[in-house]
């Protein structure tokens, strides 16, 4: 296993090199002169001399590869450069946003899994019963509702009507609750439906009939065998959702003032702050690759039959 992980990590190196090149190229090809945008946003009267001086100050007068290697060299030393918007170091901003995004993604995933998997198993066992139909309605609704609507409804319900939370949450845990719940609702719907479908499929397998025939307890069959065998596909959808969440949930972040990566990227794009966008995209893409790796490893842990090599 350790060998496999090391091998996968080594394989990441060329992927990351290509990734940095692509990210830098995309920003390089984006229309608009950052120096001109910066000067105009400052309200300066842009003369040719001033523009040239600003371009030189920002390093924009250098060749593509000089700028690329300078950028990559900085990243290797933990220096993602300075923001075009406020002339502040990018790395602390990225790190802070990333921590918030990871906290939100983790909280919503944990809540979703804790609620969705029991519901999925229950509705599979009680297939076509009244509770199954009720859950089906809720999961369809949860899947269909746009995120901003869920967020505003939750805020209206919990902050205005019930007054359980303040609109402006000040603590990290308190501030995490509603955005996490907001992201969890569609995820619960997806996970519950997936779990139900997978458990149902397993329940129809011959080994389940055999176990019933041998008098194995229902609970043992369900949790030790059926769920275990269904976990692979459930894990797949969970990892897919985690990857979506890591990318940032801009709407939820904006509504609940959660300073995550999504908001940071949107603000940076709006301000043509290319170094911040580059840094954020690079970190997010790296995280996506790592989540992929973690998912592959978890497959192996769940099912020993999977040959890693």
């Amino acid at each position: 296993m350790l060998k496999y992980i090391i091998k996968r990590l080594i394989n990441l190196i060329p992927v990351l090199i290509v990734l940095t090149l692509l990210v830098f190229l995309l920003m390089y090809l984006t229309p608009g002169d950052p120096a001109l945008i910066r000067l105009s946003s400052q309200g300066a009267n842009v003369t040719d001399e001033l523009l040239a001086a600003t371009r030189a100050e920002m390093g924009l007068d250098q060749s593509f590869f000089t700028r690329y290697f300078s950028w990559v060299g900085g990243i290797l030393h933990g220096d993602f450069g300075m923001s075009y918007i406020d002339d502040m170091p990018i790395f602390p901003k990225l790190l802070d946003a990333l921590m918030h995004t990871l906290a939100l993604a983790s909280a919503s995933t944990v809540v979703s899994v804790m609620i969705a998997i029991p519901i999925g198993i229950f509705t599979a066992v009680k297939k076509d019963s009244i509770p199954d139909n009720i859950v089906r309605i809720f999961t369809f609704t949860g899947n269909a509702m746009p995120n901003f609507l869920i967020a505003l409804l939750l805020m209206y319900l919990f902050c205005i009507r019930v007054r359980l939370f303040p609109v402006i949450a000040k603590g990290s845990v308190q501030g995490l609750m509603l955005p996490a719940l907001s992201l969890s609702i569609p995820m619960i719907s997806k996970f519950a439906r997936q779990t139900r479908a997978d458990v149902l499929q397993q329940l129809n397998e011959e080994y389940v009939i055999g176990m019933h025939a041998r008098g194995v307890k229902e609970r043992v069959i369900l949790y030790k065998n059926v769920l275990h065998n269904a976990l692979g596909s459930i894990l797949t959808i969970i990892s897919l959702q985690i990857r979506v969440l890591i990318g940032g949930s801009v709407v939820t972040e904006v509504i609940f003032r959660w300073p995550g990566v999504g908001s940071l990227i949107m603000d940076s794009i709006g301000g043509c702050d290319y170094p911040t966008v580059q840094g954020a995209v690079l970190i997010l893409a790296t995280l996506q690759i790592l989540v992929n790796l973690a998912t592959d490893i978890s497959y192996c842990i769940i099912d020993k039959r999977i040959e890693l090599e």
């Binding site: 602390p92 901003k93 939370f165 402006i168 000040k170």
Partner: protein, 559 residues
């Protein structure tokens, strides 16, 4: 009521609100605590979140701020409070990473927070009045500024003329748009006097320039962290600033201009309009500005709890008509065909129609563009060979089409749609092109036919800033092909003319040439709309500039 009061009143249309409706009534705080069920629910949810937070190793704060005063409780609790002391709370739409007032436009925020002050300020009636300065005497190219007695920084250090001089020098170094000040010389004959020599020639708008928020005076010797904790002269001092997040300020006990009423001020970073609305309705903030049209309706329906204030700002929306892509007749017809009143009426409370770049009551705003005249617009096109066929003007069999470039900010895109409708109805087929950001696209590559933009057209009570921003040949916003030597000469003459009457005459002559070119069409003037909780006051809600906010006299709302 004298004429001065009438004038102020006309500018500051404080809206007295009607009766409460059902929608708003539930927003008023009512209870005192939570029931046991609610507590259990909170405990259960908290447990889940704490566990998840610990699992992810992220326990950092999200910019939470300590609240010093009695009104600092969150929205879930509500108790009656008086308007003396307490913490005044508001929201800020834009997040930023620094509060160094000399950088970028951060001073627009720091001044609003009551952190920074300048030598002069602009009052509600657009007059430049002394603030830290006692006054200024201008003789030819020399301005002599005298500082007030007893002014000091929040750390107790006195504000000296040498410190003011060093602040100007730092501003020039940090912000490129103040490069022109580097050509001036500064002398400090004593601690209270600063003498500015504006090169070889007189500089009539010196006082106006010294009122710009960027010229905030900091204690450059005592400040160790300019980005996070500048030491300034305002009624409040930084308690905690979270970059890209909230800012908490506390009372400046050494404030030079008397007692400070509030214990502190908090500005939460919040960009979503719905969240702002709910925070206000939940009693968590005392005031905020830039409220939306729909929110104006909601607050105006509850006069017992909210006061709305609306004052025209100097920020205007306008269209540039590219003379390289649109013939003279088409530009003139468009200027004559657009109904600005209808555009303003579509966004009630948010903006009003404007004649031109400046207020008509300003001495330099006496010349205005032609008013709407559909018949004349048709005649102009017909004289140029266009024919109205099936509701569309055509020439040589080709329909007259234009593209309106715009972006999504402050209803600019809505204005574009309304213009499109009006032009289509008039007979000019209009399309819309939306860009993410105008400065990186049409404002710099000039690849457009009609484009929309917005900015402050009268920042200091003098048109010079607008001339330098949009009228001069080399100016950033001169993108429609207007610039010419004759106007540049007039602007240069205006720059050094002292006599007010001569200045007004010159300014009007310049603007006449500008309007006659039909390269710019001024559409609407934005309103500064603010809502205050009952009892809250002193948010500079009647000042036309957004960079004024809390002061020593600010009071918090009654809950």
């Amino acid at each position: 009521m004298n004429s001065e009061e009438k004038r102020i009143k006309s500018r500051c249309d404080v809206v007295k609100i009607k009766q409460a409706d059902e929608f708003s009534s539930y927003m008023v705080l009512e209870g005192e605590g939570f029931s046991m069920k609610k507590k259990l629910l909170v405990v259960a949810l908290s447990t889940v979140m704490v566990v998840s937070s610990l699992l992810t190793g992220c326990g950092g704060s999200s910019g939470g701020s300590s609240s010093g005063g009695g009104s600092a409780s969150g929205g879930a609790s509500g108790s009656a409070e008086t308007t003396t002391g307490g913490v005044f709370k508001s929201v800020e739409t834009f997040a930023y990473g620094s509060i160094d007032p000399h950088k970028e436009y951060y001073s627009w925020h720091t001044q609003k927070y009551g952190l920074t002050e300048t030598l002069f300020r602009i009052n509600d009636d657009m007059e430049i009045v002394p603030w830290l300065a006692e006054g200024i005497e201008i003789e030819d190219n020399v301005g002599t500024i005298t500082l007030k007695d007893g002014i000091c920084f929040s750390n107790g250090n006195p504000v000296t003329s040498d410190m003011v001089k060093r602040n100007i020098e730092r501003l020039i170094e940090v912000s490129k748009r103040f490069n022109y000040m580097s050509e001036w010389t500064y002398e400090t004959p004593d601690d209270k006097t600063l003498v500015i020599t504006t090169g070889d020639r007189v500089y009539p708008t010196l006082k106006n320039d010294l009122a710009t928020p960027e010229l905030a005076i900091m204690d450059l010797d005592a400040t160790t962290d300019f980005d996070n904790n500048p030491i300034c002269t305002g009624p409040f001092v930084v308690d905690k600033f979270v970059p890209q997040g909230d800012i908490t300020l506390k009372r400046n006990d050494n404030y030079w201009d008397g007692e400070v009423n509030c214990d502190g001020v908090v500005f939460y970073s919040m960009s979503d309009d719905q969240s702002k609305l709910m925070a206000m309705q939940n009693g968590e903030i005392d005031a905020y500005d830039n409220i939306t049209t729909s929110d104006i309706e909601i607050f105006s329906a509850d006069p017992d709890n909210y006061t709305l204030a609306s004052v025209p700002m100097q920020m205007r929306s306008y269209a540039f008509l590219n003379s390289e892509k649109l013939p003279d007749s088409v530009r003139e017809a468009i200027v004559l065909a657009i109904d600005k009143e209808s555009i303003a009426a579509f966004l009630p409370g948010m903006m009003s129609a404007t004649e031109g770049a400046f207020d008509t009551d300003a001495p330099y705003g006496k010349v205005q563009p032609p008013k709407r005249d559909i018949e004349k617009a048709k005649q102009v096109l017909e004289a140029d060979g266009y024919k109205l066929e099936n509701g569309v003007f055509t020439k040589g069999g080709q329909p007259l089409t234009v593209t309106i470039s715009c972006y999504q900010s402050r209803n600019i895109d809505t204005i574009a749609v309304l213009m499109q409708e009006q032009l289509n109805a008039f007979g000019i087929k209009a399309d819309i092109k939306i860009v993410d950001e105008p400065d990186g696209t049409y404002m710099t590559d000039h690849n457009y036919e009609i484009c929309l933009y917005r900015s402050i057209t009268d920042k200091t009570g003098d048109p010079m800033t607008w001339f330098e921003l949009a009228v001069e040949s080399i100016s950033y916003q001169n993108i429609a092909g207007f610039g010419n030597e004759e106007t540049d000469k007039l602007i240069e003459e205006y720059r050094y003319t002292v006599d007010p009457d001569e200045r007004a005459e010159l300014a009007n002559e310049i603007m006449q040439q500008y309007y006659d070119s039909n390269t710019a069409l001024f559409l609407t003037c934005y309103n500064r709309n603010a809502v205050l909780r009952k009892g809250a006051s002193g948010f500079s809600e009647t000042n036309p500039f957004e960079f004024y906010g809390v002061s020593a006299k600010t009071t918090v709302g009654i809950k």
